[in-house]
Symmetry: C2
Subunit: 208 residues, 2 copies
């Protein structure tokens, strides 16, 4: 009876340990940008504001997918006060082998604007942000129109403006097209890791 | 003696299994684009050419870092014959829940050109590619100049052109700056996984 209980706990522990290895490896692969950003925030370098995606709030949930897709890799761009801060931060990353980031210096980053094309909603009207970050937000979203679907995009004219559909297709003015199976960004994975870590510790205590 | 040998093999097997879990999780996180591209190539959809990064060859190793950095996320963009192929491919990805890709339709993608600024080497002169992909390569690299270092970039004038240094700093015309600790793309990780997988199998056989 006690033997069976011990076998059960051992099996559960083994399974939880494997899960933890997997989650840590995935976090390592996906989270290197997050780690670099957190390290820079703790570095003492002044003028580091935050990842663009965390400085923006989407007002209406209906547009969450469209704005997320429109942000694309700019979500993880790090907004900094000026280009001197960016250079100092790059040196820090190199010294500490912390990977690479894209920096948006507020004194240098050029805002963008969508052309008037008689349709779509400017993406920048669908988000809230501190006005001090206007240049950076406008750089990432200012040229983007949110449209209902591909049909509306075609009516407006593909190539006339950068357009994103509610379903998450993105049509760049360059002619590039982004699409496929949309998966929201996994921001909750860190919570999962902590839970599994706690479970491993509890099972190890129970086994003794 | 035999008991000690068995313990040794068991410990090695445990370690190799953990390594395999980690590598598979990392590959899963990093390789979803590769998996989507491979699936599309096998899908039977005509007009799918390949990831931009695999259609380009860097002639002189001295420029490998600079070109890699200049390509950025365009490395994994999928070159396709036209926008109809891109739409068909997007439907395929959605149906099979295979994630998202950026498509470069050869009939729509707009080539880019670097301004004359009296310095730097056009990145597009440093690569070889099949001329049929000219539009796509020019879209990704056509506006980029390769410079020696940040000093040369400043001499030319930051913001005057898109510039990448031999050491891997990237200065976008938009004012964005990309930099940090450069790590070449891990194209060999799949080889590593197969090796560890083979090791696990060998150790399991040995243990019996």
């Amino acid at each position: 009876e006690k033997q069976r209980e011990l076998q059960k706990i051992t099996a559960e522990l083994e399974s939880a340990k494997k899960e933890l290895i997997k989650l840590e490896a995935r976090q390592e692969a996906q989270g290197s940008k997050n780690r670099a950003i957190e390290a820079l925030k703790r570095s003492g370098i002044r003028g580091i504001h935050g990842a663009l995606g965390e400085l923006i709030k989407v007002v209406d949930e209906k547009y969450l997918t469209a704005v997320d897709v429109a942000l694309g890799s700019h979500f993880d761009n790090l907004v900094v006060e000026d280009d001197k801060v960016a250079e100092e931060a790059i040196k820090f990353l190199k010294r500490n082998k912390l990977g690479r980031l894209t920096f948006l210096p507020l004194n240098k980053i050029k805002p963008r604007k969508a052309p008037s094309v008689g349709g779509g909603i400017p993406a920048i009207e669908l988000v809230e942000y501190n006005p001090r970050y206007e240049n950076a937000v406008s750089f990432a979203l200012g040229d983007t129109l949110v449209v209902e679907d591909m049909n509306e995009a075609r009516r407006i004219g593909i190539g006339k403006a950068r357009m994103v559909t509610l379903g998450g297709e993105l049509l760049e003015r360059s002619g590039a097209i982004v699409g496929g199976h949309y998966r929201p960004r996994q921001r909750i994975s860190i919570g999962n890791i902590e839970e599994v870590r706690a479970k491993v510790q509890a099972l190890e205590t129970q086994k003794e």
